[in-house]
C-alpha cells in the first residue's frame, strides 16, 4: 500500500508531506495546518488541494476498516449475538411458544444435564460415532493421499473424484444410504444374503445403526481429508525421499519415516477439524431416521448431541434447555481445543 502513488497525491507545487509515507504515523506530521508556507495569500485552489489531501489521508486511514466492516457486522449479527443470546437463554426457563417470556433459572438447565440419561446417551453416541468415523476416515485418507502422491496418469481426475462425495449434499447422500441399509430391500443386506449371511436390521440395532451413520460420515469426508494430506505431501522436499531410497528404505518405510513425520501438523489439523465435525454431527443421523425426526431411533441409539439439542429446541420447544446443551457442547469443544493445543506444544518441543 505504502509504495503506491495515489492519483490525488499532492503535486510538487505544494510541499505537503507524502501521506502515503506518514499516513500510519499519526496526525502530527500529516497535517500541514495553516503554516507560513501558504502565507496569507492562500488561493481557493490551495484550499481545495489541502481539503483533498486531508480527505485522502482520512480515506487511507479509515477505509480499510470500512472494507472489513461488513464481516464484523455480519459476525456480530449472526455469530456473536446468537452466541451471547444462547448463553443468556440457557440461564432461563423459556419456551419457543413464548420466547420473550423468560424466567430466571440460574444454572439449573446445566445442572439438570448431569442427571439427564438422554444427554449422557447422546454424548456417548456422539463419542462412539465420532471415533468409529474419524479414525478410519483419517487413516484411509492418509493411504489414499499417499497413493495419489505417486506419479499417476489422470491424477487430476482422481483428485476431483475424491472431492465429489464432499460436494454432495448430506440430504441426498443420506437418502441413498438409508436405501442401502434398508432391512428388507436394502442393497447391503442383499449382498450379505448372497454369501449366506442374514443381514442385521441396521437402523434398529445399537451398534449397526452407529456403524451405518459413521459410514455416511466416512464416505463424505475421506476425500476431503485426503486432498489436505496430498497438498501437504507435495510440500515435502523430494530429496528426503531420494536419500531415504539411497539408504535402502522401502516404499512403506519411506511413508512411515518420511511422509508421516512431515505431515504431523497437518494430521493434527485434520484431527481437530474432524473432532469438531464429529461433535456437531447432525444431518446424517437426522436423515438416517427418515421421517421419524430427532429421536435418533426407537431407543435413541444413534441420537447425537446435535440431534438431542434439536429435539429439545425444535420438537419439544424448550429453548432454555436447548441453549444449555448448545453451550455445553461449546465448552466441550473448548476443552478439546485446549487438549489439542497441549499436544501440539508437546509435539513441537519433541522436534
Amino acid at each position: 500500500m505504502a509504495g503506491r502513488t495515489p492519483r490525488s497525491a499532492p503535486s510538487a507545487a505544494t510541499p505537503a508531506p507524502d501521506p502515503a509515507a506518514t499516513g500510519s504515523s499519526g496526525r502530527a506530521g500529516a497535517d500541514p495546518g495553516p503554516g507560513p508556507a501558504g502565507g496569507t495569500g492562500r488561493t481557493a485552489a490551495d484550499r481545495a488541494r489541502e481539503r483533498r489531501s486531508r480527505r485522502y489521508r482520512r480515506d487511507l486511514r479509515w477505509s480499510p476498516y470500512a472494507f472489513i466492516a461488513p464481516f464484523f457486522l455480519f459476525f456480530a449479527a449472526f455469530g456473536l449475538f446468537p452466541l451471547l443470546y444462547t448463553g443468556w437463554a440457557a440461564l432461563h426457563r423459556v419456551e419457543l411458544t413464548a420466547p420473550t417470556d423468560m424466567e430466571w433459572a440460574g444454572l439449573r438447565n446445566f445442572t439438570r444435564l448431569l442427571g439427564d440419561d438422554f444427554f449422557w446417551n447422546a454424548l456417548g453416541n456422539t463419542f462412539v460415532i465420532g471415533v468409529i468415523s474419524t479414525v478410519p476416515q483419517l487413516l484411509m485418507a492418509l493411504g489414499i493421499a499417499h497413493l495419489l502422491n505417486y506419479r499417476l496418469r489422470g491424477s487430476t481426475f482422481f483428485r476431483v473424484a475424491l472431492l465429489t462425495p464432499y460436494a454432495t449434499s448430506v440430504a441426498a447422500a443420506t437418502l441413498v444410504f438409508v436405501l442401502l441399509f434398508g432391512r428388507d430391500y436394502g442393497l447391503v443386506n442383499w449382498l450379505l444374503s448372497t454369501v449366506g449371511i442374514d443381514g442385521p436390521d441396521w437402523e434398529n440395532g445399537s451398534w449397526s445403526a452407529k456403524l451405518a451413520v459413521s459410514t455416511i460420515v466416512i464416505w463424505r469426508w475421506t476425500g476431503y481429508n485426503a486432498l489436505i494430506y496430498l497438498a501437504a505431501m507435495q510440500a515435502i522436499p523430494h530429496d528426503l525421499y531420494e536419500s531415504a531410497a539411497l539408504d535402502g528404505a522401502s516404499r512403506w518405510q519411506q511413508f512411515r519415516y518420511v511422509t508421516v513425520p512431515s505431515l504431523r501438523p497437518t494430521i493434527l489439523f485434520t484431527c481437530v477439524v474432524s473432532t469438531i465435525g464429529a461433535m456437531q454431527l447432525f444431518g446424517e443421523p437426522l436423515l438416517f431416521s427418515g421421517s421419524a425426526g430427532a429421536t435418533g431411533g426407537a431407543d435413541h441409539q444413534y441420537q447425537t448431541l446435535g440431534l438431542y439439542l434439536y429435539e429439545q429446541g425444535w420438537v419439544n420447544l424448550h429453548l432454555g434447555r436447548a441453549s444449555a446443551i448448545a453451550w455445553t457442547m461449546f465448552l466441550i469443544l473448548l476443552v478439546i481445543a485446549a487438549v489439542n493445543a497441549l499436544i501440539a506444544r508437546r509435539l513441537r518441543s519433541d522436534d
Binding site: 419457543l96 411458544t97 434398508g182 428388507d184 421421517s291 421419524a292 426407537a298 429435539e311
Partner: protein, 443 residues
Amino acid sequence: MRTTIRGTRHRAVALLAAAALGAVLLGGCAEDSEHPGAAGSPGADAGKTTLTVGVFGVFGYKQAGLYDAYMKLHPDIRIKETSIERNENYYPQLLTHLSTGSGLADIQAVEVNNIAEVTATQAGKLVDLSKAPGVRKDDFIPWKWAQATDKNGKTVGLGTDIGPMAVCYRKDLFAKAGLPTDRDAVAALWAGDWGKYLDVGEHYRAKAPAGTAFVDSASGVYNAVISSSAERYYDRGGKLVYKDSPSVRQAWDAAMRAATGKLTARLQQFQKSWDQAFANGRFATVSCPPWMLGYIKEKSGDQGRDVWDVAAAPKPGNWGGSFLAVPEAGRHKSEAAKLAAWLTAPEQQAKLFTKQASFPSARAAYGLPAVAGAKHPYFGDAPIGKIFAAAAEGIPNQVLGPKDLTVNQNITDVGVLQVDQQGKTPEQGWRAAVESIDNALDQ
C-alpha cells in the same frame, strides 16, 4: 504468451460466472412477475394487494385453481403461496415468527396436532375469525370448530379439511387368505370393534401368503385406535392424564397385540421402506384417511390398480386435517380473513376434495354432489364420498391438549417401535415411552 492465454481464460470464466449470475437474477425476477396478474404484465400489478399464504406440504389450493378463481372474483388481489415441505420444520418457524411479529404470511396454516397449542398460547397474536365476513360457524363440523376456539370463545383457525379414517385393504391378499373381498362384507367383519379387526388379522396370518403381513405397522394400529376415542392424553379439564387414560391403554394393548402377535410388517410409516412395501404388496391393510388414497396410488403404482379397496373402519376416527389462521401482525388482515373464509367455505372445500382428496371439514359440503357422489377409480370405484362422510359424522368430539403431538410421537416412535421393531417387551416399551415423554414435557 502464457499469461495472455491464462488471462483470456480467466476473463472467460468471469464472463460465464457473470452470465450465470445474471440469468439467476433474471430468473428470480421472472418468477416474481409470473404470478397471474390480470393483464399479465408486471405493470398491471401496481396498486394490487398481495396476500401471502404460508402452508406446509401440498395444500392443493393452487392445484385446484382456487387462487386463480379468487383472483378473478377480486381483481385487486394477488395471492402468493409459500410452502415448507414438512410441518416439523414449518411449525417452529411459525412460532418464532408469531413471537417476533415479523416474517409472517397473511394467512398461516396450522396442523391439527398443533392447533390446541396454538389456540392456548398464541390466541392473542391471531385474528378472531368467527367474526370475519363470510364465515358461517354452522357450516363446520362442530368438533372441528371447537378445536380452534379458546376458552373466551375466540376462534383462531378455520378448518380446511379433516381426516376421517377408513381401512384400505388389498383384495388379492384377502382372497388368498380366504377372507371376503367385497367392501361391505369386509367392513362387516370388524364393525364396531378394533378387537375384531385384530381377530381378522389373526385369521389372515394363519393362511396368509408368505412374506406378507396383515397390517403395515403397530404404530398404525395404535394411531387408528387412539384416533377413534374422545379422550386421549388430556381430560376435559385440560389435565395431562395419558398414563392412566383407558383409551390410551386400549390403543396400546391393541398395538401390542399386533406387534407381539406378528400381525405387522414391522415398518415405520412415511419411511422409504414403507414406500417400498407398498410397491411390493407386503401388507394387506392400512388405516386410510382420504389423503392416504393419493399416497397409496402413488406408491403402489399401476400394479395396485383395482387391487386396493376401501372399507369402513371398525370405529370412525380422525387422522390429520388443518386450519387457516390470520396473524394480527399481518398487513392486510381483513382481506386475509376474507380469503381464509372463502377458501374454507363448503363449495371450495368440495372442489378441493375432488382435486386433492382433502376431505371437507364443512359439513355443508357433504351433501354437494362433488362429495356425495365421489368414487375413486383406482380403488375399484369405491364410493369414497359416502364412506368418508359417514365416518366424519361418527368421529367423536376429541379433547385436544397442547402437548398431544409430543405425547403421541413418543408413544409411537419410541414405545411402540421398540416392541414392534426391536423385539422388546410391552412393559419395556411403555416404560421407555413414559421416560421419553416425561423428559420432553419437562421445561
